[in-house]
Structure formats: C-alpha cells, structure tokens
C-alpha cells in the first residue's frame, strides 16, 4: 500500500475520532433518566382477576412452568390466584397469547431485581396491582 495512502488514511481515521468527541454522548443517566419503552414491551405481568376463569391455559403454555395456579383462593366467583416466578420466567409472551379471556397483560416494567428468590415470586397481592414502593438513591427520587 503506498506510504502516502497509509498516511492519508491514518489522518482520515484521526479526523473521524476527533470529530466524534464534540458530538453528544449516546448514553443517559440511567436511574434518573430512562429510555422509551414501547407499549408492546414484554415486562412484568398484570393479572386481571375479574376476567380470569381459572382455565390454567397460561400454566400449560409456559415453556418453563413459571406460573403456579391456586384455584381455591377465589376473589370472584370463577377466578384463581396466580403465582408468577420471575426467577424462571422468560418474558416470552406465550401465556398472554394463550389467555383467551384478556386476563393477563404485559407492562413495560422490566427492572425486577430482588435480593432473594422468594421475593421474585409475585403472589396474587403483587401481581394484580402496578404500584411499587418508592425508591430513592443518592437523595433523588427514582420511582
């Protein structure tokens, strides 16, 4: 490769790198700023107990058997309590598609970290409502 060509290429590479410095960085400050989640995002589930008819199609559809159904614990006349084990769940969306009675939805909440496996099992009390306890870090409110 001709020597001059190499030098010209090297200078062009240096120009690319130099011009990149003054552009806005791509990253954002995560806990305080967050990115846009489309409404189809497969995050945490919401179990609408009014429509649920305890047909356990979602339990059968789940490839990793992450949903456990408890048919005795009834709040309405025909529904059942679901226990979502988020340490096993793949967020693949097969259960939401298997449910014919619109009793199961995804929400764009994807940050589900917990310090023990038991806390990751969302029982009927947590799976049916979307509120979460407020979180504060470095003196600034995140949630």
């Amino acid at each position: 490769m001709s020597k001059l060509g190499t030098i010209a290429n090297s200078l062009r590479i240096l120009r690319h790198v130099f011009r990149r410095i003054f552009k806005r960085p791509f990253t954002y400050f995560y806990p305080w700023e967050d990115r846009y989640y489309p409404e189809l995002t497969r995050g945490r589930h919401i179990h609408v107990r009014e429509n649920c008819t305890a047909c356990s199609q979602c339990v059968r559809a789940c490839p990793v058997v992450a949903i456990r159904i408890d048919k005795e614990d009834k709040k309405y006349e025909k529904d059942a309590a679901l226990y979502f084990d988020y340490s096993r769940c793949l967020f693949c969306g097969l259960c939401v598609q298997a449910c014919n009675f619109d009793a199961l939805f995804h929400t764009p909440i994807v940050d589900l970290s917990a310090d023990s496996q038991e806390k990751l099992i969302y029982g009927p009390d947590r799976i049916t409502k979307i509120e979460r306890e407020p979180l504060e870090w470095r003196g600034r409110k995140i949630r």
Partner: protein, 379 residues
C-alpha cells in the same frame, strides 16, 4: 502434544475464563510465538438444547432454537418453524411470508453490527466496539417496537407471525437503516482503510473453497472465497419471499489471492457486501407487504398434536447454514428427536486445521473473522 514436537513447546490454554474466550477453551501448543498445534474444546455452555426440545410442544420449541444465537434471533428460530410447518402442512398467509423475510434480513444486519464490535474488541480498538453498537441500539429499538423484546423476539411461529407491522415500527426501522447507512462510510474508513487492521488481517487465516467445503464452513466465510453458496437462492423456501426481489449472492474476489482463496481481511469486506445486499432486499420487500391476516387462525389446533413424520428445516443464517432435523411420532405433543446444526460448530472445529503455522496473536483474529457464537457449537 505429539511426541515429535520439540521440547521447548509450551502448552497454553486459551482457557474458558479468558477475556476474549467467550466461554470456550482451546489448547494451543506454542513454540516461541508460533502455534504448532491447536486443539479446540467445546462443552462449557452445553445446555442440552436437543434433549430440551423433546420436552417442549411445537409452539414453544422456537424459543430454545432462538436462544442458541441471540444476535440473529429471527434467523435462528426459523428452522424449527419451517420443520413443523413441513410436517403439519400448515398454510402460511402471504403477509406473514413477507414479514418473515424482512425481519430475517434486519436480523442479519443486526448480527453483523454486533460482530463488528466483537472483532474490534478482540483487536484492542475500543472505539470501534461502541460505534457499531450505538447504531445497533436503533435496530434493537425497532425489534422491541415490533415484538416487545429486544433480543428474545419469538417472532415467527408455525403458521405465521405473532406481531404485525405498525407504522411506529416502520418509522423506527427507517431510522435504524438511516443510522446504519450514513455510518457505513465511516466504518469502512475505520476498519478497511486502517493501516494496522490491514497489516494484522491480510494473509492470515487463509483457506481455499475446497478446504472450506471439506471442513463444512458455510455462509459469509465461504462466499468470501468467491463461491456463491447461499441457501436463499439455492434451496428456495416457499414460505419466504426471497424471489420477489432481484438481488445477487454477495461474493468477493480478493485482490491479493484471486478468486478461490480468502483471508481475514476479505471476510471483513465480505460482511460489508452482505450488509449492502440485505439492505437491497429489505428495500425491495417493504413496499410489497400486502394486507391480510398474519397468522393462520386455526394454528393452535393444528400444532397441538402432529402426525408422524420427519422434516428438515434449513435457513441461511448470518454465520452460515443453520438447520434442524425434526422427527415426530404419531399424535405426540412433543418432537421425538430434534437435531440442531450450528454453522459455528464447524468453524470452531476448522481452527484445528487453520491455526497451525500462524502466530499466537493471530488466533484471536482468525477465529473472530469466522464470526463464532458459542450457542451454535455447545447447544
């Protein structure tokens, strides 16, 4: 170590915990800086995908296939879907065929974007790791807009496609293609014209078409040796729409070695040709997407229990030919035997014949240029 190798040879494990070894281990026998013998070992990521497939019904199997190679998720899950459709003779609606082909080409572009970053990381230039991965974020946003998940897309199922094209998705897809295209020139400068990459990558990892065929290398690695082996053209699949666009199989005649040999540098140029062809296909197919249903309504009934039969699903992945051989017994909910062929299974084995004679520092580059992904050989 073979006994005839001189006694000053050093046995070095490019081991599983190594920074650049993404979970595989290779025993290199070095004499000075030269590799004398290379013995690749696999099995550190083995999750027995084939045994798991025997316990998943026909709607869940695509999930396992897709997790073998996340960067090309749309391409990796398709052999399973194709095999099930062949056995159950399910009719796929027209719109789903177009959407599948388009998303498979976008997934091919995403896989190449990911691979640029990976190879640059192995060659020490961290700038070129993050630049392609910034453009890749736009592609991932398009995936999330369409399917709801960035990597685990579970998009095509036997009988059609799960999510429909919304105009918000089309807007994000154009944004992703726009970002890729106006950075392609910059990436060509940074990679192909970089004097150090040229010094490092030329005449390294050389093999001919005959050798590649015997070793089972496929995909961009063999097309770089000017051998147009591409399943999209050779074995036309009725459920995909590659014939609606007139495009040529991207092959490359390397300027040093003539047509029939390729080295690491040519494989990099070949990836740029692949991106151009993929963009050409996407642009050709996007306006032709017809209206209509995206999934056969009675698909749940048809895929609940399948008749006995054998089928062979094949797709031209971003890394080579990935296939699935499926055998089902009469009225069983789960496959009887499923065999997965990963393209990187052979490219990792090929190191045994490609590496001897090269230097220790070239090992990372040669294997990186074959675009390895652990899921394919460890399954």
């Amino acid at each position: 170590m073979k006994p005839d190798i001189s006694d000053e040879a050093v046995e070095l494990w490019f081991g599983p915990q190594h920074v650049a070894a993404h979970g595989w281990a290779t025993k290199l026998t070095l004499v000075g800086d030269y590799i004398v013998e290379c013995d690749p070992n696999a099995g550190y990521f083995h999750r027995s995908a084939e045994k798991c497939l025997e316990f998943r019904n026909f709607r869940q199997g695509a999930l396992i296939m897709e997790r073998l190679c996340m960067p090309e998720a749309f391409l990796a899950e398709y052999p399973y879907v194709q095999a099930v459709e062949k056995i159950a003779e399910i009719e796929v609606p027209e719109k789903a065929k177009f959407m599948r082909t388009i998303m498979m080409e976008v997934s091919r572009i995403h896989s190449i974007q990911f691979w640029w970053g990976q190879l640059a990381g192995e060659l020490g230039l961290f700038t070129m790791v993050l630049w392609p991965w910034i453009d890749r974020e736009y592609t991932l946003d398009a995936f999330e807009e369409l399917t709801g998940s960035r990597h685990a897309v579970t998009y095509s199922t036997p009988g059609g496609v799960k999510y429909d094209f919304t105009d918000e998705f089309l807007r994000r897809l154009d944004l992703a293609i726009y970002h890729l295209e106006n950075h392609l020139g910059k990436f060509k400068d940074m990679i192909l014209k970089s004097p150090t990459f040229k010094a490092r990558a030329q005449n390294v990892g050389l093999f001919s078409t005959k050798e590649a065929l015997k070793l089972g290398l496929s995909g961009p690695n063999i097309r770089a040796c000017d051998y147009p082996m591409d399943l999209r053209k050779d074995a036309h699949d009725p459920n995909l729409k590659y014939d609606q666009v007139d495009w040529e199989v991207p092959v490359l005649v390397s300027e040093e070695h003539g047509s029939g040999m390729c080295d690491a540098y040519d494989r990099m140029i070949q990836r740029f040709n692949e991106v151009d062809v993929a963009l050409q296909i996407i642009r050709g197919l996007l306006p032709q997407v017809p209206e209509g249903p995206i999934i056969d309504p009675k698909v749940r009934a048809k895929t609940n229990r399948l008749p006995a039969g054998e089928a062979y699903g094949r797709v031209e992945g971003a890394r080579g030919i990935s296939t699935l051989w499926l055998k089902t017994t009469d009225k069983a909910q789960t496959p009887y035997r499923a065999k997965i062929r990963g393209p990187c299974f052979n490219s990792y084995y090929a190191l045994k014949h490609l590496m001897p004679g090269l230097r220790f520092a070239d090992f990372v580059l040669v294997f990186g240029s074959l675009d390895p992904y652990v899921g394919w050989w460890d399954r």
